[in-house]
Subunit: 409 residues, 2 copies
């Protein structure tokens, strides 16, 4: 008989967002006339930049004629997109990467999860706490996270608590860790690391032979000058870090599906016998075996992000969301709530008042202000006592939601 | 230090298609004036049906307005597409499946590879020989295939040789096998199983508690009435079989990326302690953890495959390819070559004359007829002495290629 991968059974059935949806549905059924405003949504809502749409319409026209038809593309992605990435995302910041170090994908969640395929199941992992849950869950499912203990902590995971006390800067662990996940600008806290702080992590990784998996999905939201957009702005990072990028939040591509992963050739990990293996080569093997490339249409759309019109339209969209964030933060602090983030990221991390729990504050916001938030506890133990709000909504709805919170909480 | 997954290192560096591309490039460089015809290509070349293109243009227009914008979709896929699949691909053949038994993906290669994530690494696997290489490679990369032995055979893989002697019907193995891969209509041989033959496999799986992974990517090419389009046409299959479907070869979606996997709720596998686990539930967990859904655009395109215009245009495209196959087969047999398949599938499996090897015949066709084929040995030990030709090319080029073979071989 076929045997199942029992590690997957360790994952709790009720995923944060499923629980949340159920609660919201219950509220809507029992309050059919309530006008619920969702400020918890982790998804963009603005239309896709016209430059990208035009490029995708054109790509579809290519598919209408045998002469310009595109079938299977290269598993690593089309050169037209890789070239644009190298030029606009990296060379423009003084970072030199090779063509074969970029791997186009159908979204950062896929690759950040699948990247574990090329690493042994028993590496120790370190994560910022709170953290985007899929990072841990993908490690649970291959056995790498160990077993679940008290307070929803996994035995083989080192948690690096981020809180106002340490300015949301993850403390460097005292023990060695094989693999560390860093996400900056951070989801869920909306906070960032300066170059000096990120440099400490790169140095730690070099000294301890640690692999950094760096999620830069929100880099386009950075406004301050000293915040690194890429980990490769830090000297030495090309030896120790993989970077995940996504067009989802940059250009509204959550429904289009395109992102990319940078795997520099210098990054290596070890066999049990101590031989160093290039992760670039290994990732290429994984991708050619289990992936058939990202959609031609999506890649043409992503390419247009870098056109002059695309850049302008992307900037306008991000300005819109960041203006939402600013309005929301102002409102929340005006009534004495402590809100973090929202200055270089579309997320606000809000402390629940009067020692309330995450779910307690969630319920209060839902029932008293008809506003949906995301309970911080869903992002890890250090998320208890917080909620996450996002700036991805419609301007008027954001204003209205915050006004209701101000009047009712 | 981070340790690598050493199983991936077992995969030979030179993938069949990479070797092949190198040989073709060498030929082109040394014969710059040669007009090379590719009859080996495993990719479609005809434009995408207009109904699908129209639907995708419309979907892009949805993305241009906040009111109709689609961000993250359900990981399992949109209901509009799942409903169309249930109605047109299954109910129409008397097969009743539930909505939650269909999982939309970005292509069958992804899912047939990733499905291994939910199964233990030490299940034994059985494969038809020859076979599409990615099936085995994805098992190698998680350690399930064992170690590589002589004649390119993996220690934990049971090979079921398919040849003219057994009419390309895979012999039921004498030992128990945990997981069996079946692909019919078959890539690379182009042969099919009748209902009676497939029934033997379903019965074997029920008796032996074997899981069948059934690849039906080419079902749209079936012309004869007694050939099953879905394994669920066989009684009992919903207890033991997963089915992979794809729009790649049905509607020319190799560059669009959309397919689906059927995981009936009745299919279970076991924990070490003997508890039966629903694979549907486990696959849902895997997908929600490591996948963010297929593109909205692609799903709208796939939905249009089932519209009256879509059906007509898909049929015309498949008729075109199958007419190619017929012309090719007639030509090859007219000069005494033995060619199999091509009647319910876009592939022809051609025996090399005079005891030549696959690569020997490949070279001969390339150098003497300037025709590219695919050496059968790339598909497994039983592929030695064969080449695969495909019917996916342009009509005139197919004719010309076959004519050259007839005149020169």
């Amino acid at each position: 008989m076929a045997l199942v991968n029992e590690h997957l059974l360790k994952l709790p059935d009720n995923y944060l967002f499923t629980d949340l949806a159920k609660k919201v549905n219950t509220f809507k059924v029992t309050h059919p006339k309530a006008d619920v405003i969702n400020l918890g949504i982790g998804d963009v809502t603005r239309p896709i930049p016209q430059a990208c749409l035009n490029a995708m319409h054109k790509a579809l026209e290519d598919q209408a004629k045998a002469e310009t038809f595109h079938g299977y593309g290269p598993e690593q992605g089309y050169s037209f997109l890789i070239d644009a990435i190298l030029k606009h995302d990296y060379a423009s910041r003084g970072i030199s990467l090779e063509h074969s170090e970029i791997f186009i994908n159908d979204g950062a969640k896929t690759d950040s999860g699948n990247f574990g395929d090329i690493l042994r199941h028993d590496n120790s992992i370190g994560v910022t706490d709170p953290i985007y849950p899929a990072y841990i869950d993908s490690n649970v499912s291959c056995g790498r996270a160990g077993t679940l203990g008290e307070g929803y902590r996994w035995s083989n995971v080192i948690y690096m608590p981020c809180s106002p006390e340490n300015n949301f800067i993850p403390p460097i662990p005292e023990q060695r860790v094989d693999i560390v996940y860093l996400c900056f600008p951070n989801n869920p806290t909306g906070t960032v690391l300066t170059k000096a702080e990120l440099k400490k992590w790169v140095n730690y990784a070099i000294e301890n032979d640690t692999l950094i998996l760096f999620d830069a999905a929100y880099e386009a939201y950075i406004r301050q000058p000293d915040i690194p957009h890429s980990i490769y702005e830090i000297k030495g990072a090309k030896k120790v870090a993989i970077e995940f990028r996504s067009y989802s939040k940059t250009a509204g591509f959550t429904g289009i599906r395109c992102g990319y992963t940078v795997v520099p050739k210098e990054v290596t990990a070890s066999t049990l016998m101590g031989e160093r293996i290039s992760l670039n080569k290994l990732w290429l093997k994984r991708q050619t075996t289990k992936f058939n490339g990202a959609s031609y249409i999506a890649q043409r759309g992503a390419e247009a992000v870098y056109s002059p019109e695309g850049k302008e339209q992307v900037k306008a969209m991000i300005d819109y969301y960041m203006e939402n964030a600013s309005i929301m933060k102002k409102g929340l602090t005006s009534i004495g709530l402590r809100a973090y983030g929202g200055e270089n990221a579309p997320y606000l991390w809000v402390k629940a008042p009067k020692g309330m729990t995450s779910w307690g504050f969630f319920d209060k916001l839902l029932y008293e202000a008809q506003v949906v938030s995301t309970p911080g506890i869903g992002f890890g133990p250090s998320g208890e006592g917080y909620i996450r709000l996002t700036a991805f909504g419609d301007r008027d709805r954001c204003k209205e939601g915050i006004q209701r919170i101000c009047q009712n909480i």
